[in-house]
């Protein structure tokens, strides 16, 4: 199972809905969030890849791959290159610091609102890490 695939998104959704910590830290969050891996043909990612998480009041109602055109339905879009995502998934980069330092770029959405959900963001990433997922071939 590779990251940024439908299967991976669905596994992440299951993990999210199992997480008590996510649920309690995101009770008032109600905006769809998309994550994007920017294209980099040199590592086997010829196109941008994105998934959309329909997050609502501590639940993940849906998770799926979306085309880059469909990103407009997301209120929040967080984007990074494949290598940065790899470091996040391998716990070599800290997610909150990375957002603060702009390594994970908030392409769309309001940073002030997001800043009120730091704990939720932290648990969201924790769930992605428990979901597992392999990096594209060129990054292994």
């Amino acid at each position: 199972m590779e990251v940024f695939t439908d299967e991976w998104a669905k596994t992440w959704q299951v993990e999210l809905n199992k997480s008590e910590q996510y649920r309690t830290s995101a009770t008032t969050w109600e905006w769809p969030l998309a994550l994007k891996m920017q294209r980099d043909p040199s590592v086997g990612v010829p196109e941008d890849r994105a998934i959309l998480l329909d997050l609502y009041h501590g639940q993940c109602r849906d998770a799926r791959v979306v085309s880059t055109e469909d990103l407009s339905s997301a209120t929040y879009v967080i984007s990074a290159d494949p290598y940065t995502w790899k470091q996040i998934f391998e716990r070599k980069l800290e997610p909150i610091s990375s957002i603060m330092r702009g390594k994970l770029a908030l392409e769309k959405g309001n940073m002030s609102t997001l800043s009120q959900y730091v704990m939720a963001a932290k648990h969201l990433v924790e769930c992605a890490l428990s979901a597992g997922g392999e990096m594209p071939e060129g990054l292994k």
Binding site: E94, M100, M111, S112, Q116, V118
Partner: protein, 297 residues
């Protein structure tokens, strides 16, 4: 047996950053809170709306407790540096602690003379604030009494210099500037903040130097810095939100986004500076310039 550094050929090393900061502190850190003229501030205070007064009082309550905390919590770090025989650094730290005492004095002076507040104003400390100032800060600093390892020092300095001073205090000054200074109100308090900010730039400069030295002397410290930063960040960002309390109507026409962006910029600058230390050697760190660590003139 004791070796006295200053009677050996070592003397005092004037070129290293802590010694340069010490020289600066003797010139710039000697302002007296009691010399600050608060006459106009008393007039201006009466003219503020209730919401504006609340906002200023909340900021002052956070600063007052913050300055007291950093005054009380610095000592274990001074002792570690002393035990390591880093005399120049210890000399600088004597000015550091004294300055924090004056900052504590300054806010109480303002509260007594301008606000005239008699009641307990601890209620302004929110959950995140308490977590940082009542728990993380004293715990990280007191840990140095038992544990003087580079890891413990790094955690202490991340908490004290990077989060409390480098991110929260800096954002707090910004809060004063964007409210009172923009309106030309409370000139006494604002001039005190100008002094504080300069003092703090040396404190943060020292912390940046200390962490840079630890990072380049010990391979694992960059990871320690990052992971401790990550632990504290949710609460630190929480404090920034508590300063501006988004549920209220913001007084002084303040803008929440501006605050978050400001805090992020502070954080980015500090982390970028620290990350550069990974590729440097210790001698370069000793000679690091004041500008590169953000010390104000």
């Amino acid at each position: 047996m004791r070796v006295t550094q200053t009677t050996t050929e070592r003397g005092l090393n004037q070129s290293i950053l802590p010694m340069r900061l010490y020289q600066k502190a003797k010139k710039l850190g000697i302002w007296d809170p009691r010399d600050i003229d608060l006459t106009q501030d008393k007039e201006d205070w009466k003219g503020l709306s209730d919401a504006e007064q609340q906002y200023v009082l909340r900021l002052c309550s956070m600063f007052q407790a913050g300055e007291e905390a950093v005054t009380r919590d610095l000592l274990p770090l001074v002792r570690v540096i002393s035990l390591e025989g880093r005399l120049e650094e210890e000399m600088y730290l004597t000015t550091f602690l004294w300055e924090e005492a004056k900052h504590t004095e300054m806010f109480r002076l303002f509260l007594d003379d301008v606000v005239g507040v008699k009641r307990d104003i601890t209620e302004f400390h929110g959950e995140n604030y308490k977590k940082i100032f009542y728990e993380f800060l004293p715990e990280a600093m007191e840990a140095l009494i038992q544990d003087q390892s580079p890891e413990a020092q790094a955690k202490a300095s991340v908490t004290y210099n990077m989060i409390v001073e480098g991110t929260l205090a800096e954002t707090g000054y910004h809060a004063f500037y964007t409210s009172l200074k923009r309106l030309n109100k409370m000139p006494g308090l604002i001039s005190a903040i100008d002094y504080l900010k300069k003092d703090e730039s040396r404190h943060i400069g020292y912390g940046t130097y200390l962490l840079s030295r630890l990072i380049c002397e010990n391979e694992n410290i960059w990871d320690v810095v990052n992971s401790h930063m990550e632990t504290l960040l949710p609460y630190a960002i929480g404090v920034v939100n508590e300063i501006i309390t988004p549920d209220e109507n913001m007084p002084f026409g303040l803008n929440i986004d501006e605050f978050i962006n400001f805090a992020m910029k502070q954080f980015q600058f500090r982390m970028d500076t620290l990350e550069r230390a990974r590729t440097r050697n210790v001698d370069e760190i000793y000679l690091i310039s004041e500008e590169s660590v953000g010390v104000l003139r």
